[in-house]
Amino acid sequence: MDLVSILRRIPAFADLERSLLQALASALVIDDYPDGHVFIRRGERGGAVFLVVEGEVDVLGAHDHPINRMRSGDLFGLVSLVDHASRSATCRARGPCRVGSLPSTAVALLFHQAAPIACAFQKALGSQLARDFRQLDQRLRGLADG
């Protein structure tokens, strides 16, 4: 399992120096989780950022409505980087999976030590928010047309 290679596949992290990717990989707490494990519960605040190493994690909205499916190399829980934001979705293991977690305290420390890592995380968060924006925009226009 080469975490650095997995991290480098994330577009926002692709240009980071190897030493920074190694620092990030070292900070990740890797663990194996069973099917159905809930990493994030919708409505909760704070917490960690997660990286799927192996397996799949389902992202569920209101009423357990499926929104997305995360696979190896996908980050989730990025919204915890936004102050005072509650989790907008529940993230649950789909089958056994291996996931790396980065507690918010570790994130803050990394950001302080290495601004390029902070920048990469903000870019990853921005990409996710932009995707959410566009999906919501399309849905609202569809409803408006109805």
Partner: protein, 186 residues
């Protein structure tokens, strides 16, 4: 003429909060002032647009096109607003048309300039991104909540229009779109 760092910090307080008061001068150096005449189209929906605009003076109108062909003005933006951040972040096509209602003065930052900033001052670049993400997250969350309040059928409706689905009127969805785009009613 580009405003002073203090003026920029006061008008764009959220940006200053993330970038840091001491770094506003560095940010100011990478911003380009642009004047647009009343009636000019600043951003065209569906076209490539990778520039972030900080609205210094003037009023902008935000308009979206619906699948039916209808065009809606969903609100307006005044001084202190940030425009074009979604395409700036993801490099995608513009999601709305933005037109100057009055003559307007803007401070602009290109994606290329942000890339340079990442190399020269990553703290500043991270602060700029964080400010944009804060604003975008709040608006997406607010609009999502309003969509959910409309009921399960609306919240889970596909993007294609469906007759009878959703409990909101057309004007309600226009309001929610306004929330999403960060506009205010005139």
């Amino acid at each position: 003429m580009i405003p002073s760092p203090q003026e920029i910090g006061e008008r764009f307080g959220d940006l200053q909060a993330r970038v840091g008061k001491g770094r506003i001068d560095s940010l100011r150096r990478v911003l380009t002032p642009v004047d647009v005449a009343a009636g000019a189209i600043l951003i065209e929906e569906g076209a490539p647009h990778e520039t972030l605009h900080l609205l210094w003076e003037g009023t902008l109108a935000v308009q979206v096109a619906l699948a039916s062909g209808a065009r809606w003005e969903i609100g307006r933006l005044g001084p202190g607003s940030v425009v074009g951040e979604v395409s700036f972040i993801d490099g995608g096509l513009a999601s709305a048309t933005v037109t100057a209602v009055t003559g307007a003065q803007l401070l602009t930052l290109s994606r290329a300039a942000l890339g340079e900033l990442e190399r020269s001052d990553a703290h500043l670049a991270a602060g700029v991104m964080q400010a944009l993400c804060d604003s975008l997250a709040a608006r997406v969350r607010d609009a999502s909540n309003r969509l959910e309040e409309a009921g399960p059928s609306a919240a889970s409706a596909p993007s294609q229009p469906s007759k009878g689905a959703g409990s909101g009127s057309g004007s309600t969805w226009r309001d929610v779109l306004g929330v999403l785009f960060g506009t205010r009613e005139e």
